[in-house]
């Protein structure tokens, strides 16, 4: 079960990408995602993948770790690929293969590959961010980016706190889940047989104790914070201040260059497939 959450787990290293300011990393990731959706032909993906490869190369994270992040959504990728392949159709095409409402046409092959590539580069790009940024720095970055919303009385600090607490408790709750599953299995619970309905019903003995324990933990944590006189964002200072450096400038320039490249390809490029 633990392997399923490998996507997005921080990989400690001291690389160029690790040292980037988390705010810059978040913004660049957003830019990268926009870039992926702007791409109109396959050559554009060459640019996006080159950018991704560059980021991975300078992150010190093993390539396999990034590639493995796809595993979490592999199922979705395959399903969308198959659906697009069979259902996408453009007017006036001769299909290679046709059966009932399904047909494989040149454009459906192109389109389904396109979507699959889009999803893969999306997930791999996001995993570079989470692999190279600790949850604390990530929430610090988000808090700082959302700072302007304070003007309209939006509780930015509280939101960031909620996020970091949520991230912090994922492993704890996973552990708890495993323990509860073991305990109910020992009492003869069976999660693997029966029809869909009885399988869903068999989750009740896991979910209820899990929710109860999540509330209990929340209560305890709240009490612990109150007893330390935690009052939220007011007059709070930070131990680690976020500062922009030359690295951030370089990274931004590289992404901007990729953006220009993709737009140029969209306008002047020819579709190779």
């Amino acid at each position: 079960m633990r392997n399923d959450v490998a996507f997005g787990q921080y990989y400690p290293a001291n690389s160029f990408v690790h040292k980037l300011d988390p705010r810059v990393k978040i913004l660049l990731l957003i830019a990268y995602i926009v870039l992926i959706f702007v791409i109109r032909n396959f050559l554009g993906f060459a640019v996006a993948i080159a950018l991704l490869a560059l980021a991975v190369a300078f992150s010190g994270v093993p390539v396999m770790k990034v590639v493995k992040s796809i595993r979490a959504i592999l199922f979705i990728i395959i399903i969308t690929f198959i659906i697009n392949l069979l259902l996408h159709r453009e007017e006036g095409e001769t299909p290679f293969f046709e059966w009932w409402i399904f047909a494989v046409t040149p454009s459906s092959i192109r389109f389904s590959l396109f979507m699959a590539l889009r999803l893969i580069s999306l997930v791999m790009g996001s995993s570079v961010l989470t692999l190279t940024t600790t949850p604390v720095r990530l929430t610090d970055g988000i808090e700082s980016l959302l700072y302007p919303l304070k003007l309209i009385k939006f509780p930015v600090h509280e939101l960031a706190l909620v996020m970091s607490i949520a991230l912090r408790f994922i492993p704890t709750l996973m552990e708890e889940t495993e323990r509860i599953i073991s305990a109910q299995k020992a009492r003869g619970a069976d999660f693997e047989s029966g029809n869909l309905f009885s399988r869903i019903k068999s989750l009740v003995p896991i979910l209820i104790p899990l929710i109860v324990s999540a509330f209990r933990r929340a209560d305890e944590l709240g009490e612990a914070m109150e007893s330390r006189c935690y009052t939220g964002s007011k007059n709070r200072t930070k131990y680690k201040k976020l500062t922009l450096g030359y690295r951030d400038a370089i990274a931004t320039l590289v992404v901007a260059a990729a953006f220009v490249g993709v737009i140029m390809l969209n306008i002047y490029g020819v579709n190779v497939i």
């Binding site: 020992a186 619970a189 324990s213």
Partner: protein
Amino acid sequence: MEVVCQNLSYSYSPSSKNKKYALSDVTLTIKEGDFFGVIGHTGSGKSTFIQHLNGLIPVQNGKLTVGEYDLTDKSRSGKAKLKELRRKVGMVFQYPEYQLFAETVFEDVAFGVRNFYKQASAEFIAQKVKSAMQLVGLDFDELKDKSPFSISGGQKRRVALAGVIAVEPEILVLDEPCAGLDPQGKTSLWQLLHKLHGTFCKTVIVVSHDMNDVAEQCDKAVVFSDGKAVACGSPRELFSGLEDLEKLGLESPVTGYLTEKLKPSVTLDTDFTIDDFCDKLVEKLKEKS
């Protein structure tokens, strides 16, 4: 049912290069009728070990048999027997009250019964639940319709315990059953376990890190350290080697320390229970005067 394990090893990351073993080369026999203690630090492998006993953790290396069940058997028939084994080996986890889920105490205790006896009649279930609740000292009529979340902590633990013993396991395994209980609750829990030991539960296996409890309650115990079973024997054998225990970072029961302190003047041959220790001390004092 006898538990026999031979060269049992287990690693949580079997594919990684420098494997760390949670259990390594454990050879151990727990006889039917034992009140058996499992001692060790956090991370010494004791929890991994007990979860092997009802197949929650599959055997990786080595052999393990519980009664007639061969847990090394990975075939289909072996897996089908697993459920039967789980009925016979009841397992009470640490803080068992955290796994209560049903709407009423009755339903929670009946959960195991319903799982293990698929075609059971309502009377059969009610009878099992009632006798289990009576065994753990809960008032059936008063509590059966209450929510398990509305009763006291001590009662919750008893409800959880009743849920395990309702199917009348032959071996009862408990992981730190006394954690978080007050002295009174502790005493009555031990009394309860001894009472159960005389009934269908022929063997009781208790994980504990309180040496006083082990000395006082168990006939035999095994010490785990770094995944290895480093010592096994009666409290008398285990606690006479005080230095060896300290080398493993474990404590001795209070009586062990007292015996050590008294050594220059009196040598006591005790089994380290408070009663026996006092008897032997009084004997020696009488001899002297």
